[in-house]
């Protein structure tokens, strides 16, 4: 039996087509409505409400909390201000990415780390001899993500105060529906958005208050299908889809360094020793052999491929997580791990791992596509990520 999140009484009542999936051992909504289309548009048009409680969350407290985190993650934690959030990957000693998540600093010695995979043992293994208390808060803390251009207005009504001062990747305490919560200006959509963190036992009043205050603003509970498209538009990677954790990789070819995942900016190579530092320093000097880039599949060639079959072009409404070969002439130079038709950009986009020599924005490559059971290749251009980055995300 899968676990259900603290919001299950509400989310189950909304579920129209039993489109559930599993996420970290929990039941998670793929889409509440028959199609995820309206839920997707809420992210870019009004505000979408996601139950993101299945995220793994670790609370770290104590004198050595900063030291521990600085040893584990690649960002410079000492520079993280209280009430700041940092996005960061973390690596094994080979400098290969294990997982990525957000790091919330509540105070001097008080943090929360979120992750896609369990990391309790990893944190403990790195904390030997340190004065730090590591709590697995995954099930104690529930979380909601409110994403979209109207998310701020809804939250301001719900908390009863102005949130203009809450900057991108900062957090604040607040009360919603009588429940004390932490609000971080973070999310997985690349849009204006917030995540709301609360004690699992008080989850429902928060959901209810947000829905009440959000109604006039078109708040729309949304599932993972909608989120998947938005995160591809935002160029945000997903563990087990866009990369394999160094812990689970079975062959060297499955490993990725932060540089290869376009996360070079997160590697503070000058800070004190941390996991993977020597390997990362070497790689930084030599340059990575792979790069994560955007790909935009050329619609005209796609149209032609379908036309050859007597068909109009067709793309799936949902994002694809099937790995697709990418070619330069006769040579395979990479593979795309996530792809989607962007309803907003009206473009067919993908996240692709490309050999460094092919990872130049504007370069013309070929993306494999199956048209009527036959493998074809469509022209695709290398793009810088993200595909979509509205000013409101930071303003």
């Amino acid at each position: 039996m899968l676990k259900t999140t603290p919001f299950h009484p509400r989310t189950a009542a909304l579920m129209e087509a039993q489109q559930w999936r599993r996420w970290a051992g929990f039941l998670a909504a793929s889409a509440y409505e028959m199609s995820h289309e309206r839920e997707y548009h809420a992210i870019r048009n009004s505000a979408a409400l996601f139950d993101v409680s299945p995220l793994y969350k670790y609370h770290l407290r104590g004198r050595d909390a900063t030291r521990l985190l600085d040893r584990v993650v690649t960002r410079n934690v000492a520079k993280c201000q209280p009430c700041q959030v940092m996005y960061t990957p973390w690596c094994d000693p080979r400098g290969k990415v294990i997982d990525d998540g957000t790091l919330h600093r509540f105070g001097e010695d008080n943090y929360r780390l979120t992750s896609a995979d369990p990391n309790l043992r990893w944190l403990h293994q790195n904390a030997r001899g340190m004065q730090v208390e590591i709590e697995d808060a995954s099930e104690r803390v529930a979380s909601l993500s409110l994403q979209g251009p109207l998310s701020r207005s809804i939250l301001e009504h719900a908390v009863g105060r102005d949130l203009g001062a809450l900057k991108f990747f900062r957090l604040t305490n607040a009360t919603i529906g009588g429940v004390s919560v932490v609000i971080s200006r973070t999310g997985y959509t690349g849009d204006l958005g917030y995540e709301v963190w609360m004690d699992a036992s008080e989850a429902l009043p928060v959901w209810d208050a947000l829905v009440v205050h959000g109604k006039p603003y078109g708040i729309t509970p949304a599932g993972m299908l909608a989120l998947d498209i938005a995160r591809i538009e935002a160029g945000l990677i997903l563990l087990d889809v866009d990369y394999v954790s160094a812990r689970k990789a079975l062959i060297p070819g499955q490993l990725s360094s932060p540089f290869e995942l376009a996360l070079g900016w997160t590697v503070s190579i000058d800070k004190q020793p941390f996991n993977g530092k020597p390997a990362l320093a070497r790689e930084k000097a030599d340059g990575p052999s792979w790069s994560l880039m955007g790909l935009e599949i050329d619609w005209l060639t796609l149209e032609r491929l379908y036309e050859d079959m007597g068909l109009a072009p067709r793309v799936a409404a949902a994002a694809s997580r099937v790995s697709v070969p990418v070619y330069d002439g006769s040579k395979q130079v990479g593979y795309a791990t996530s792809s989607a038709w962007s309803p907003l950009l009206k473009r067919y986009i993908a996240l692709a791992h490309l050999e460094a020599s092919s990872a130049t924005p504007g370069k013309e490559l070929e993306f494999e596509i199956t048209v009527e059971h036959r493998r074809k290749r469509a022209t695709a251009r290398v793009r810088k990520l993200p595909f979509y980055d509205p000013a409101r995300k930071r303003s």
Binding site: G25, P118, L120, R121, W122, H124, D136, R247, K248, L250
Partner: protein
Amino acid sequence: MRNGKVDAIVIGAGHNGLICAAYLARAGKKVLVLERRHLVGGAAVTEEIVPGFKFSEFSYVVSLLRPEIIRELDLPGHGLQILPLESTVTPMLDGNYLAAWGDHDETRRELYRHSPLDADAYDEFGILMHHMAHAVKPIIGMMPPDPTSLSPRELLSLGKLGGHMRSLGARKFYALHKLMTMSSADYLDEWFETDVLKATKSASGIIGTFMGPRSPGSAYVLLHHYMGEIDGAFRAWGFQKGGTGGVSDAIAGAAKRLGAEIKLEAPVGRVIVKNGRASGVALENGDEYHADIVVSGLDPKRTFLKLVEERELPGDFVANIKRFKTRGSSGKVNLALSELPRLTCMEPENIARWKGVPIPPERYLRGAISISPTMDYVERAYDDAKHGSFSKRPYMDVVIPSMIDPEMAPPGQHVMSIFCQYAPFAIEGGWDDAKREAFGDAVIDALAVHAPNIKSAIIARQVLTPADIERITGLTEGNIFQGELALDQLFFLRPAPGYAKYRTPVDGFYQCGSGTHPGGGIMGASGRLAALTILGERS
């Protein structure tokens, strides 16, 4: 066929003998298989000991059977049908329990209940064991080279092995070295803190051995049992439709289809050797069969010490075979049941008390029940055996085949298979009827601690001590693997240095049973490799 001549005679229709025969027949050889008993299969048989109740009398689960054999002999086409055995529940002494389910998320949730750290470690351990099994797998499919030979072929083969070892990289090589030398208890201690988890995992390191979980070398057996799990499309442990005998029947069917003849109730008395060459066999009744190729599927001791006159063999070889360890340590209790057992620990109130996830009985009873509540319990079971008696509180691996295949028992009734350790072959004073029944009682008592209704549910029971296993299957001292899977008895040392390649000191006489590389269990690798060796030499 009486006194007739064939190309090859295979002695013993255990699964390895049958596989060897099938491969020889496939290559066009005229093959005759001679089996002592009235049915094929050796330790892999199904018998209706109690009318209406089919027992997988000895071996009861399948996982190691080599995929290439399944494919090459088209065993599914001859009735091989492996049904999943998904879960394991271990009742604990304090009333709590530990379960491993078929689903990763469910297993993680259950482990987390015991130790959040172990829940993480479990996945990493699984990946490491996958790596290790992957590293060892080529060795299993490889003819063991002779490290003392300087022939180019042997050196090439040794070189390949060395190259393979180097390709593992330092990390995996060290891990493999640990696995080869440590005790399963020590090895598991490096990973886990939950005692009942370690106890249950360590149990697979002691199966068929005369070692406890704290004996060095037991970690390798742990790996041996992981081996079946890495062939992606194949499941881990499974249950053959109709009981384990179904596996043997499928192989026999394939062998017959390929032209092999199988003669039952034909016990071989000796191998006929003329001028240092095997030329056939004589049955116990004196009938003779002639062939230039004679293959024994029996264990090494029976093969060389019973079937061949000592003077035909080099003295040091005989000494090596005599020293080959076959200390039987396992027993088996098969039950016909009028109703299903109920584990106290899995009653809804008890699950709630320990904050577990409610599970309907039909579900956990489709899987295994492991009686391995603590590491001390398992080690103590071994202590009894070390001192010459059967375990008062044995380690047990319990399955209810009729929950998986309803045709194993009359509708609504059940069969239960209980594999237990330790029951030493060399019990003080030797085994007799009284000791057998006392051992059976100890097993039932130990199970009744966790499943109180078991006693009243028993319609009939069959208790098999190592002495019974030897008597019925011919496995010397009842050793389930035809010889212990100890480091000094593996690879180019199995069964004896210089004779690891299915050859024997007698020209034309070969061996193909579990007592040869790569070893025991329903694996079939030795039967196949033996046939390939023979065909390579004589085509």
